[in-house]
Amino acid sequence: MIFLKTEDKLQKIKFEDIEEPEDFYVISDNDDLVLTSKEAVELLMDELESVEYDAELAEFYSKFDNEIDDRTSE
């Protein structure tokens, strides 16, 4: 896997169909749902307030129509 530099990762954010992680699971909790740093809040809200429509990402998700291909034999 190509390892992007930190800034590249945060700037790039260009969707591509990458391989799923082997240990791909989620157990979410309530941690980090309350931000305690003014910088973190301002950066998050700046992102939300300046968000732009991402046609490529939208196209990727719009292709999903609940139809799943059989990939078990791959």
């Binding site: 896997m1 390892f3 992007l4 530099k5 930190t6 990762k9 945060l10 790039k12 954010i13 260009k14 969707f15 591509e16 169909d17 990458i18 391989e19 799923e20 992680p21 082997e22 240990d23 791909f24 699971y25 989620v26 157990i27 979410s28 909790d29 941690d31 980090d32 749902l33 309350v34 931000l35 305690t36 740093s37 003014k38 973190a40 809040v41 301002e42 950066l43 998050l44 809200m45 992102e47 939300l48 307030e49 300046s50 968000v51 732009e52 429509y53 991402d54 990402l57 939208a58 998700y61 719009s62 999903f64 609940n66 799943i68 291909d69 059989d70 990939r71 078990t72 034999s73 791959e74």
Partner: protein, 193 residues
């Protein structure tokens, strides 16, 4: 394995979990699936969706969704029109060990976003929140699926530590997907500050 066409199914209150086969290999998730899912549904704490083989008892993956918010301490005195960002928490999510690396996980994430988009037309819901494991492979996956760090300074620190192979104490980091990125109507509007 015989070919089949997997289907999504929203789990209803009378779903018989124990008649199906699902093993993620993560005890907490398997226990949640078999022992607690129905209780969460009955109590209205989560809704569960599964991806399964329609012809056998095999379940390939599942996820649970609940409403949630990102907010901040009042003492920070942040002047915004809101005191929190509403969203959906992807609480539990797992793929059966037999079906890993076949992009069913991506299908499940797409289903999550599909549900959230519909929900956001009726109820204020800006984001999907998820706890990503702190592993390069996992964080890269979410970044490439359009997710970002909720706490950006913390996210940058974590990425740098991963690059430098430094020890990281925490196991997960909160990430979010902004539904407005894929909703053209809303993003052409000017946001009120």
């Amino acid at each position: 394995m015989t070919a089949f066409k997997p289907i999504f199914e929203k789990v209803e209150i009378d779903f018989r979990f124990k008649e199906f086969i699902f093993h993620s290999g993560i005890n907490e998730l398997d226990e949640f699936f078999y022992e607690y899912s129905s209780k969460f549904i009955k109590n209205g704490y989560s809704q569960i969706n599964i991806l399964r083989n329609p012809e056998t008892p095999d379940i390939m993956g599942f996820f649970s969704l609940s409403s949630s918010t990102i907010r901040w301490e009042e003492s920070l005195r942040i002047e915004k029109i809101t005191r929190y960002v509403p969203g959906i928490l992807l609480g539990m999510f797992a793929i059966d060990k037999r079906f890993r690396r076949k992009k069913f996980g991506s299908d499940l994430i797409k289903k999550v976003i599909n549900i959230a988009l519909k929900f956001s037309n009726e109820v204020g819901c800006r984001c999907i929140f998820v706890d990503s494991l702190i592993k390069s492979e996992t964080i890269n996956f979410y970044l490439n699926m359009g997710f970002r760090f909720v706490d950006i300074p913390l996210g940058k620190t974590i990425l740098k530590k991963l690059e430098n192979n430094e020890k990281i104490v925490r196991k997960t980091i909160k990430m979010y997907f902004d539904l407005y990125k894929i909703q053209r109507y809303y993003t052409i509007l000017n946001f009120p500050k």
